[in-house]
Symmetry: C2
């Protein structure tokens, strides 16, 4: 911990401090399971991960656990009912992880967790197994120290967050009655910077799609045919290039910005007040040479308040050693858009698909496959649960948290709001340079310890905030 | 054979016809060797291929064979000296082959040759092992039927043609005295169409390079950083798109067309007189939906008379199953240009590299690696050796060949011209839809048989053409 708490230690804090080394050891075991949801070869590992988590939840004090099957990977559901008269928090997290390539860039293997420089390195360390584990260990602390929780808890840990929570809406619809609660608590976001604790009140949404361009049915000799037929890679490059204005860096897809609720002067002022450090951002961004983005907005605004369109991957033709002088038969790209209120993921994906089709010449065939996206969401800062989370963070970190947003997406947060009518509190404790979705993902062990303390304190703060004494 | 020869069969023709099934079986054995020069894993196979060919050359009648080492893969050299007073032909071919990916698109495995519908399917079947084999079998026919050749032969079969003949200039410089001859004979080009025999008098040159774009040192979470830093895939797409005018399809690289010797009205008229069949071209081009290319030129002119720039491959970010919402750290592309007289490969590669660097924003790093290219070359149609080849083709195919060019590149042809002062005769017999450089490469067995007859007849025609009786 870099800050000394200014509130005195509680009995819960003492327990957490004493047991922290074991908390790390237990998390290491969870991280050994390669629960990559995007890769069908890891289907059984995702199931194993859910089962391992169910055991851990029961040992922590949850009374009942159940694997909720979906059309894809299963979620874990767990309940701890203290008294129906008390308020209920629904904790959400995910136990699936991102793919690991490029594997050769990992210093230690992604599923052989290793502690270096007080951080635990593994795929899923902070996104999101480590932050789910904070919740299990906070429950354990309450149960071991006091024998009971001051509220009821429901825990749902999804197995498909990294593939866009494709079946989570169905799952929530199916288990709607079971999932009733007063508030949703999610720990899957980073704080602003180490030493600058922060509470996140908004998430961007996500639209994604894959485009495939084909010309000849086979790779052609570029000598014999070069000059006379369209080259799918060239055409795809031109199509992708057409999606941004090269000068203003605005997305050129017609209608893309139509749904954007413009940020208020107050929101922009709050962001301008943060200790923004361009050099630190570039460091966190893996040494990117410069920030660059939509004209008229600062880097933090571009990441939090503005929608974007990114190519996540591209392929086509020969990429092996040496050269191969062909006109490739196919080319493809994966594209995603980060969205802000009130953009609609399906509508945006359809607009991008249409723009790609229009940009393609008749000499190639274009196929666009739209994947399920997630809605953007913002929670009001004056909600009592947000205020309770603010006090819990202050206890855990010893400093009042800044109010921020994040550019990331957690589609279930929008689902909790729209289907269950729940406000969401985002008590994430990751750091911006944790390298999630990249090689050498890690969880800073000070942040892990602080996170358990924050969540344990949150259970003390929430009941009074949600059901104030009359 | 689709045409009946109008010249009477010779003793050589009868021998070839009788032994053709064995000629096929022997070629099959050569095709089993996966001599992929681009892939370092196949280094030993390229050596094995050269050794196998040396044995075959000695059995055919060559007196002396030698593996010529280079800094890369070895070439085979063989000699058959009849009488120093006779003219000497230098036969050139290559025993290395293109890579085979995408492997899953091959109907039979690339190195397990299979005859289907009177064609032999295998990587290298026609490009160029099958056409080298025509030469061996023509020599065998002369030796077995008449006991001697009417001229001296030198044979050089390269192991690096498919990787741009990177060390061939060095090899020719080193063995310059040994390679002295009166004419170079190359069989590595297709005829115009099945039933339309043709003699090729011009080849395009080749420049190639690889460009790599990098931004962050690691893949970034597109939610946290999207909007604030440059995306190397997006930037590469924009850079590649900038290399062509989307309307005229002309290459926009400054200076690209500066060295082009404009085609004469006569050349264009010769090409216009050919039986051009757009539907057939599109079929040969793997069902490409339409022809498209540089404004102001016909498809054949675009392929033979005009230079082009093609992206041969592109890569960057995630291309696996599902989605991965990242800003990729790197992206790259392989680019090649087909050149016409008097463009210089090194100069063109430098111009393209410069255009790419200029098109890149400062927010990414760009690296360009230029690979060795090959010069374009055109041989005068009135050269006696070309006229001899025309008669030999007429004998082998039973019809006067059309005079054409090809869009392909054989860098050694330019080397023979510039270093050894040799005119080149291109007696290739492949078909345009042989799928060279693609899955399911094949050699039509009628073309193979005709090719052996053509070459056998060429050895009868050449001495008188090169050293006319006084």
């Amino acid at each position: 911990m870099t800050q000394k708490p200014d509130a005195p230690d509680t009995d819960l804090d003492a327990y957490c401090r004493a047991h922290q080394p074991r908390f790390v050891d237990e998390l290491v075991e969870a991280l050994r399971i390669p629960s990559i949801s995007a890769d069908p070869a890891h289907r059984d590992d995702v199931v194993a991960s859910a089962e391992h988590l169910a055991d851990a939840a029961r040992r922590a004090g949850f009374q009942r656990t159940e694997l909720l099957e979906t059309a894809g990977h299963p979620a874990l559901y767990a309940e701890l009912t203290v008294d129906p008269a008390l308020p209920t928090a629904l904790i959400y997290g995910h136990h699936d992880v991102q793919p690991v390539d490029p594997l050769e860039e990992w210093i230690s293997p992604p599923f052989e967790p290793e502690v270096r420089d007080n951080a635990l390195y593994a795929r899923g360390a902070v996104d999101d197994k480590g932050q789910v584990w904070m919740h299990l260990k906070a429950v354990e602390a309450h149960m071991q120290v006091r024998g009971r929780l001051p509220l009821n808890l429901k825990l749902v840990v999804e197995g498909e967050e990294e593939i866009g929570s494709v079946h989570f809406d169905d799952l929530v619809a199916q288990h709607r009655e079971n999932l009733r609660a007063d508030v949703a608590v999610i720990s899957d976001t980073p704080i602003f910077a180490k030493g600058v604790p922060s509470l996140c009140t908004g998430l961007r949404g996500l639209a994604h799609l894959e485009v495939r361009v084909s010309g000849p049915s086979l790779d052609l000799h570029s000598g014999y045919f070069g000059g006379a037929v369209a080259n799918p890679v060239d055409e795809l490059a031109r199509m992708l290039a057409s999606l941004h204005d090269p000068v203003t860096h605005r997305v050129t897809v017609p209608g893309f910005y139509a749904g954007v609720r413009e940020a208020t002067a107050e929101e922009r002022a709050q962001i301008a007040a943060l200790p923004y450090d361009e050099a630190a951002l570039l460091r966190e961004a893996g040494g990117a040479p410069a920030t660059v983005g939509e004209e008229g907005w600062t880097p933090l605004e571009r990441m939090w308040l503005r929608p974007t369109l990114e190519v996540n991957g591209i392929w086509g033709g020969y990429s092996g050693p040496g050269s191969k002088t062909i006109i490739p038969a196919h080319a493809g790209a994966k594209i995603s858009c980060r969205l802000v209120p009130d953009q609609d993921p399906e509508e945006i994906a359809a607009l991008v698909a249409e723009a790609l089709r229009k940009a393609a010449p008749p000499a190639v065939r274009v196929e666009v496959h739209v994947e399920k996206g997630g809605r953007p969401v913002v929670t009001p800062i004056d909600h009592p649960a947000v205020q309770a989370a603010r006090r819990a963070m202050r206890h855990g970190f010893g400093a009042d948290p800044a109010i921020i947003r994040t550019g990331g997406t957690i589609p279930p947060v929008a689902t909790f709001q729209s289907v269950l009518g729940l406000p969401s509190v985002l008590v994430g404790v990751g750091l911006p340079d944790d390298q999630i979705h990249a090689p050498n993902e890690r969880f800073d062990l000070d942040q892990y310890a602080a996170g358990v303390r924050v969540v344990a304190a949150l259970w003390d703060e929430l009941p009074g905030a949600l059901r104030p004494a009359p």
